[in-house]
């Protein structure tokens, strides 16, 4: 009878993928991510610090727009220090760690990520009082012919390192101004099917990003392959006077798509934009 139960269990496991994944689960979070990134921390699930927007269905798994909105403005007394983003079920769930400052104005962040399969997207915020809060959204990755890669890697490669700033809403002195930073980079996840196709391509992605205004920090980020090709970020800064908005970033190449133990440094890039409120 015991054997029979095992068979039932095995068979059930085999057909499970068909019905599973109607909503997210906390398995990866509880077993891996929490201890890896927040060991010993108490994290409250709440929407009072940040809110997370993501489409219920990822129309293109290579480009899924995600937005974190902070529930209060940044001030010296109360501000969001860091926001982490994860896509639980991606082969490498860590999307990025974003550091904000009182001078950022608002700790809002919009970006585009890769979502490999049905997964929770998770945002964790640390406020200056040392408290952590977390919010999550379930995203259904689209199947069909899509892949979380990017459609035209050669085009992105040709433009590599090209950077654009857009301040479409204009700037007012002393008010948080919405900035869009666009970086052309294929952000390669790495290829694995080398035994058949002879393609052995390492990952190649932007790992560090620093944005400053007149030399003062606006946004510091540590990012990874879950960021879509041609990384695109929207965030705020406070232009108190005319000056220079500057983005500096580096890229890196790693042997394995899912380990960061063996990586070699790539290039350093920098681009400035003159702001006059």
């Amino acid at each position: 009878m015991h054997k029979l139960n095992n068979i039932v269990y095995l068979l059930a496991l085999m057909i499970l993928p068909a019905t599973a994944a109607a909503e997210g689960d906390d398995i990866t979070w509880n077993t891996v991510l929490k201890s890896q990134f927040f060991a010993g921390k108490n994290i409250e699930e709440s929407n009072t610090v940040i809110e997370l927007d993501a489409p219920y269905r990822a129309e293109d798994p290579a480009i899924v727009p995600v937005k974190v909105t902070s529930k209060f403005p940044q001030s010296k007394d109360k501000y969001i220090k860091k926001i982490w983003l994860f896509v639980d079920k991606n082969p490498f769930p860590f999307v990025g760690e974003f550091e904000f400052f009182p001078e950022s104005g608002k700790a809002d962040l919009a970006l585009r990520v890769r979502v490999n399969t049905y997964s929770d997207i998770r945002a964790v915020a640390e406020t200056n009082d040392g408290k952590f809060s977390m919010t999550k959204k379930f995203v259904k990755a689209s199947g069909g012919c899509s892949a979380p890669i990017g459609a035209d890697l050669d085009e992105a490669m040709k433009r590599l390192g090209k950077v654009k700033f857009r301040l479409d809403d204009g700037v007012q002195s002393g008010q948080p101004a919405l900035t869009q930073l666009m970086i052309s980079h294929p952000n390669l996840t790495g290829m694995q099917m080398d035994q058949m196709t002879r393609f052995i391509r390492k990952s190649h992605f932007i790992d560090q990003l620093k944005v400053t205004f007149n030399g003062k920090p606006v946004l510091n980020a540590k990012i990874d392959i879950a960021i879509s090709a041609d990384p695109n970020f929207r965030f705020y800064f406070v232009p108190d006077k005319a000056g220079e908005l500057k983005a500096e970033f580096t890229d890196v190449s790693c042997e394995s798509p899912t380990s960061r133990n063996v990586c070699s440094k790539g290039g350093s890039y920098s681009q400035s934009y003159t702001v006059s409120p």
Binding site: L4, I7, V8, L11, A12, M14, I15, P17, A18, P55, E59, D60, I63, P65, K67, A110, R112, N116, T117, S142, G143, G144, C145, S146, A147, P148, I149, A151, D152, L153, D154, E155, R159, K162, R166, D168, D169, M182, S184, M191, Q192, M193, D194, Q195, M196, T197, R198, F199, R201, S228, A229, D230, N232, R234
Partner: protein
């Protein structure tokens, strides 16, 4: 116990099922086409949703797209055997999407050469693991790395294959539907096999470059063909008239997306507002339109 048997029955039913007959019509002398119905690839249709076919020469046969599952590939191989005693010498993959390549394994034997765009092998390498990893769950088919067969012959610009007194002219296109689109022109019957460079009824799907696709259409539109075979849609006998709905859709999409980028609108805003009236014109609009807007936006925002 009954429960166990039921489960076991479900698991083996598909793999042991007799191969379903594949309907083919001879659309021109020696040109055989299976026209698929328009469906989202799922566990019921196993991803067998693309037009596939073959062309018979005096010496041998060229398969053009092998089908969406190993089973469909095997059914295609059986059909060919019923039609002709000549061997298959080429399997041409028009691009990387699973509904066009998962039948390849049925033809893997000495004497058969696989043919594709020079970027096909790379696309297989970058996407293969992802496609394979989800095939059991999404399509209810069993595939592994053996099912992804990179081309033996890579086409850089053009290549002529001779099937014995019958020449096929293969063209590797710049990035359009995908970055590895290959078309096949049969000189004997003036038939242009465009595969997924042309969609009819089924909404066009951008997985390469909207700009590239628009310029390829402009070029192809000037040519005269007696017959044109699409990857998804009916057989075309009125080229270039049948190209116009696709051209209008993609042109409109590019125009609207460019306008939104110029106005400083975001990708999220574009996805929710561009091309809504096109819904009435296309099947599978809900499944693909917003993806198209997304991919077009991400390309066109780098134009200037």
């Amino acid at each position: 116990m009954k429960f166990v048997l039921l489960l076991a029955g479900l698991l083996i039913s598909y793999s042991t099922m007799a191969l379903p007959p594949l309907s083919f019509s001879q659309v021109a002398p020696g040109v055989y086409l299976h026209t698929a119905a328009h469906h989202w690839p799922d566990r019921d249709n196993h991803g067998e949703i693309a037009n596939i076919g073959f062309i018979v020469g005096e010496r041998c046969v060229a398969v053009i797209d092998s089908g969406g599952s190993p089973q469909q590939g095997a059914a295609l191989r059986n059909t060919i055997k019923q039609v002709t005693a000549k061997p298959v010498c080429y399997v041409i993959n028009t691009h990387v999407h699973p509904d066009h390549i998962y039948g390849n394994i049925a033809f893997k034997e000495p004497g058969v050469q696989f043919v594709g765009h020079h970027k096909l092998a790379r696309a297989m390498a970058t996407r293969g693991d992802h496609y394979l990893g989800r095939a059991a769950e999404l399509l209810d088919i069993q595939v592994n790395q053996d099912n992804i067969i990179p081309p033996d012959i890579e086409v850089k610009d053009n290549l002529t294959l001779n099937l014995g007194n019958r020449e096929l002219l293969l063209t590797a296109h710049p990035s359009a539907h995908t970055d590895n689109d290959l078309s096949v022109y049969d000189k004997t019957t003036d038939t242009m096999w465009l595969a997924d460079l042309l969609f009819l009824e089924h909404i066009p799907v951008i997985d390469g470059s909207i700009k590239g696709w628009l310029s390829e259409m402009e070029r192809l539109e000037k040519n005269h063909y007696k017959l044109v075979v699409s990857g998804h849609g009916h057989l075309v006998k009125d080229w270039p008239a049948s190209l116009q709905p696709q051209k209008a859709y993609l042109t409109g999409l590019a125009t609207e997306v460019r306008a939104m980028i110029k106005q400083g609108k975001t990708l999220e805003q574009a996805v929710n507002s561009v091309g809504l009236p096109a819904k009435k014109n296309w099947q599978l609009y809900e499944q693909f339109h917003r993806k198209n807007v997304t991919i077009a936006f991400a390309e066109l925002e780098w134009e200037d």
